[in-house]
Symmetry: C2
Subunit: 433 residues, 2 copies
Amino acid sequence: ISEKRNADLQSMMQEFHYADIAEIADELDVDEATYLIKLLESEKTSDILAEMHEDIREAVLKNLTAKEIAGELEELDTDDAVDIINELPKEMVQEVISEIEDREHAKHIVDLLRYDEDSAGGLMAKELVKVNENWNVLTCVKEMRAQAENVTRVHSIYVVDDEGRLKGRLSLKDLLTTSTKTNIKDVYIPKVDSVTVNEKGEEVAKIMSKYDLEAIPVVDEVGRLVGRITIDDIVDVIKEEADKDYQMAAGISQDVEADDDIWVLTRARLPWLILGLLGGLGAAAIMGGFEEMISKHAVLFFFTPLIAAMAGNVGVQSSAIIVQGLANDDLKGSISNRLIKEMLLALLNGLILATLLLIFTWVWKGAFTTALAISLSLVVVIVVAGLIGTFIPLFLHKRNIDPAIATGPFITTSNDIFGILIYFSIAKIILGI
Amino acid sequence: ISEKRNADLQSMMQEFHYADIAEIADELDVDEATYLIKLLESEKTSDILAEMHEDIREAVLKNLTAKEIAGELEELDTDDAVDIINELPKEMVQEVISEIEDREHAKHIVDLLRYDEDSAGGLMAKELVKVNENWNVLTCVKEMRAQAENVTRVHSIYVVDDEGRLKGRLSLKDLLTTSTKTNIKDVYIPKVDSVTVNEKGEEVAKIMSKYDLEAIPVVDEVGRLVGRITIDDIVDVIKEEADKDYQMAAGISQDVEADDDIWVLTRARLPWLILGLLGGLGAAAIMGGFEEMISKHAVLFFFTPLIAAMAGNVGVQSSAIIVQGLANDDLKGSISNRLIKEMLLALLNGLILATLLLIFTWVWKGAFTTALAISLSLVVVIVVAGLIGTFIPLFLHKRNIDPAIATGPFITTSNDIFGILIYFSIAKIILGI
């Protein structure tokens, strides 16, 4: 399609939403995508760039001059512009910024670059509508009109004092129904939720979704209004957070995708597999220690994968519930209560499973004592696995370490080792060897 | 605190946001929470109820009369009211609805009750601002003012024709800057994204976050505007979806929380554990089939937990990446390309891990041939595990089954069995027994 029929392409693309064009561009190769971006007017292409897949955008940006990139950034809200600048090679950032013609916009971008990407400062945009508490309604409306031109969507009108400190917000309704001479001081709503620039993105997400906010103002350390965060950025934070926890639970570090190359994927996956390998070697060493039992009770050794699997599964289940509860902030009560509950739960599950196992093994192998030894160990293994799975994430959380790392191979591996140790120890006692 | 100091409590609670009071209510026992709810005015309590934890809300609602509940519902938007009605016992629903004084509101609620909770119809609210394309700006503004009273936040003004079919939307800016005699027909924007009532919540979430929408109109099968969904409801859908996938991966069916009681948690966890048990029994049976190798090569049996763990880990890793790619809609290309890529990736990881294992086992046990047999099997096991982990979710997705069920114990269990079978078969060939 992309074979020079410019006019057709242009009119075709006119019809599409920029998010759809971004999707199309993601499927093209880099040269075609660059061609497409250069073809369309920059008002649309800037939005397309903002929506495109990071990797492809990075490649396309390499094909554009600093001036072209600056032109695109000028059309974007400051928060999206900063996201794109963060992907540019360092030596190019300076050049691109100096090419931005709107100096106000450039200054805002430079301000925003200071903040950590995952903080409220890194998420916020400079575009907002603010009015001074000492103005009257008439001045206010005039100023608002000028400011609103730069703001895509007006969520709230923020009220600040002479030093720029956030005082409250103004409802559009009140503004339109009061006399033009009224002072803003007398009509604004002094209650407004806000976050400081250093607040973590995750926390901002929690606050916004708890209070059902669509935008939240951001203030600096002394309370001056410096930006605002809108809900669409927060939706992305929530999704990334969920993806991260999910990957951790599956034993994948770093944020990878199915389309990343093999080296990136290996780097994310191999460390956890090595951990699993070490765990397996540990288990092998433990079994080596019980080698003398092999001649009389070979069947015990056949059940080690079962014991390891059950220990791993129970550990993952109980840790996942705790990790999720911590993430959603709805864990109440003390650690010891949690542990007691998990113990009862594991005991219940363990007894049911052990009974099934006992009946099955007894019928299959005919050796009741062996079957009993295996089943009893299973109960203990499950209880211990449940307790470890509950305790480790709570412990990590107390120490301010992300408990999500505990759900994956970490729990599975440690539970494998403990499980097999417990299993053989108990079996040895019961079988009296 | 809750010991009768009503006046103090009332003035204290006045200061709090309803979401905070809801959190406090969640921590109280049911009687105290009921007491608190009855104490405050219904404008606030209805919001508190809507934000409270489901289980506690259900208990509190049992203590209220149908009339009291109806009073609360009257203050709520229709979508939140429907959520609460869905929790009431069936015999009470009729009574509560008949107690709602505002008949219009009651009718809307009854309309919404028809839809599946997870569909666009179940998520939408009836509160919206709509104008007829044949009105002029003046009528339109008057009508809007009346309608806006019932709508907490006006996101868009929707334009419909005489039959109520959605035609487009109107920008507030245009409305204020055109003459009052202009017909709406001439100023509205005919392009508007919408979803139909039967669209799945998940799909609505995808559309809204792709186009960064803050509200989306919902139409029925013939295009008539019937409601609108706001982004705050979608944030909840996204969170639930992520939580569900995460729990599935951890082997927990149903939506459970750490604070649910032991029976509920057992019901969610036990089925997956039984699956694991059966897998373990399968593995034991396979090992029983290779029993004759135990006298000469006992060490092979010590490595079974390692093999099972590696097969499980690799399977979970590769399936998690696929499941996440499917959920985010960014998997492109054919299944066979995916499988080839995963094979190369698993081969790379497998060779690195096998080399480590070979060196370690050789040094430890001194038997090179055995060490080689174990390591070579490990490579094959990892490759097969990776392929199974990639194929199963893709296959389930093609068959319209949620691929998330494949990430958890399902993959682990089948990989355990295959892994051990492959391991012993290859070892047998190499060791020549």
